[in-house]
Symmetry: C2
Subunit: 311 residues, 2 copies
């Protein structure tokens, strides 16, 4: 078993070529920049990666390109949870086979109001079919988007049944009370040797999460501000902690001020990398207008924000 | 161009073998029973088909099995709308190539609150990439599940740009006011030669839809009550119309009384076909308990409900 990932992980945005094909070259380059500038791991194929706008084949191709390009698999936590059980199994087995540190798994999200029993069966089927003790499964709770929650009761059942496989959670509920409840319920109480790792789903909860026993954050903002968020992570026990947190909050606020976070991240990279091609998004998303982009960049510059080494 | 489908279409439930693989044999048999007992067409791979719990490969395999088994492609309107643009293109091109009458297309449904511009681009990209004038595209509006609506403004833009491709809609909003608004806005006003066809998403709206200019319904209930719903469809202009409608409403009410419609449909088929294997559902759904099944069957029998020829 490789060491568990902790710290700051980016759900890496996925670049597209002009004809909306996944752009492996820009992707590899961005992943390497992230690992060199504060990210301890990469949660590729998350919500902010437009992963659900990619086919299973496209995800596997990109993951293979990353590993072949020298990005260490033990730094990777790809998203592998799909609506279709068979897709989730296929992507998870593929990630484990490549040696990935873990997988971040959405619940099947098309059918709404499904019982926890059905969600338990989904995760259990994936685990049983992948049948590989190297699998480290992180649950992905993001009810504002998936609309299908990972409840405390579900976590409890999964941990009881698969204590060495179920490794943690990314809580993107946006609700600190939920994160606190998960920390209270499961940190230090899991049956696994290494415990249950709670990642905040946004850097705005980083300090609170660390103080309450969490292990870091997996956050959109890490795509552009990995250095800032990593400083806040490393400094969480220092007298500077609150100040570092305030500084990353300010950047996040600008990114979030746009109609949509994903195009905002891509427009930020496009600007700082001097590479307009980065702005492309797949439908149903729409890129920022030139006016939106320049207003956002202006606001970031007012904060003294930079992306060192991105060019 | 084949003739447009009208009347009663079933979103055919997908049977699974004991290990949860799609069961082509039972599927073909049920499709043939449906076409022989009132269905004028089959909207395979709809919401009630657990289509979103199937991989793209599994859907294509089942569609090919159907056609090879002699189910006429001109009776088929497979669901082909996925979260990933590339999956939607692949499935749509495959369906057109097989000669299907049309496709029923969900919007990409993972990302919420996306702009109509992004949804327009999604459908436009699919149409442009499939690039086949035989394509008849039916929009699938089901906001209670997909959470991403097909607005009147989006329909208008799509019809204006692709008048010969965009053929109609299935309205599963459960909101008659929306169906009425779509009928008012587009029936008889489309640029296409054959007009814009509105299917109600439930048989409970069948009579109202026919009286207001619609062409039929695509409904879960048609999986078990195709004969009843077809009688109501054919009789909509007769003095019996209200009575026929009331009769299909009563059956629907029993099916809907269960916690989940899909397991209820499968349990009904399992009972009347004498084939317990039909009850299997894929996670995240859960089959009915034996008690739930027998209570439902009792309620159906009290209505004199039967499934002639299903054994």
């Amino acid at each position: 078993m490789t060491e568990r990932l902790k710290g700051v992980l980016a759900p890496v945005v996925t670049p597209f070529t002009q004809d909306l094909a996944p752009d492996a070259k820009r992707f590899v380059r961005h992943c390497k920049w992230l690992l060199g500038h504060g990210c301890s791991g990469l949660a590729v194929f998350g919500t902010n990666s437009e992963a659900n706008s990619l086919s299973a084949e496209e995800r596997m191709m990109l993951l293979e390109e990353l590993v072949q390009a020298g990005v260490p698999a033990e730094k990777l936590m790809p998203g592998t949870g799909c609506c279709a059980l068979t897709d989730s199994v296929r992507l998870t087995a593929h990630a484990v086979k490549l040696g990935c540190a873990g997988v971040l798994m959405l619940p099947p999200f098309y059918y709404k109001g499904v019982p926890d029993e059905g969600l338990f069966r989904n995760f259990a089927e994936v685990i049983e079919r992948v049948a590989d003790e190297r699998l480290q499964l992180y649950l992905y709770h993001i009810p504002p988007v998936a609309q299908v929650p990972i409840t405390l009761g579900l976590i409890e059942r999964l941990l009881a049944r698969y204590p060495r496989i179920v490794a943690g959670i990314k809580d993107s509920s946006g609700d600190w009370n939920n994160t606190q409840a998960v920390l209270d319920a499961f940190v230090g109480k899991s049956g696994g040797k290494q415990g249950f790792d709670v990642f905040a789903g946004s850097e705005v909860f980083l300090l609170r999460n660390m103080r309450a026993g969490g292990v870091g954050c997996i956050t959109a903002g890490a795509n552009v501000n990995p250095h800032g968020i990593d400083r806040a992570y490393r400094g969480w026990e220092t007298p500077e902690a609150e100040k570092l947190q305030a500084s990353i909050d300010a950047v996040r606020k600008v990114l979030q001020s746009q109609v949509s976070m994903i195009p905002a991240l891509k427009a930020t990279i496009a600007h700082y990398a001097g590479d307009a091609g980065w702005s492309a998004v797949r439908p149903p998303l729409v890129e920022l207008t030139a006016d939106q982009q320049s207003a956002m960049v202006k606001a970031l510059q007012a904060l003294g924000f930079e992306m060192p080494g991105i060019r």
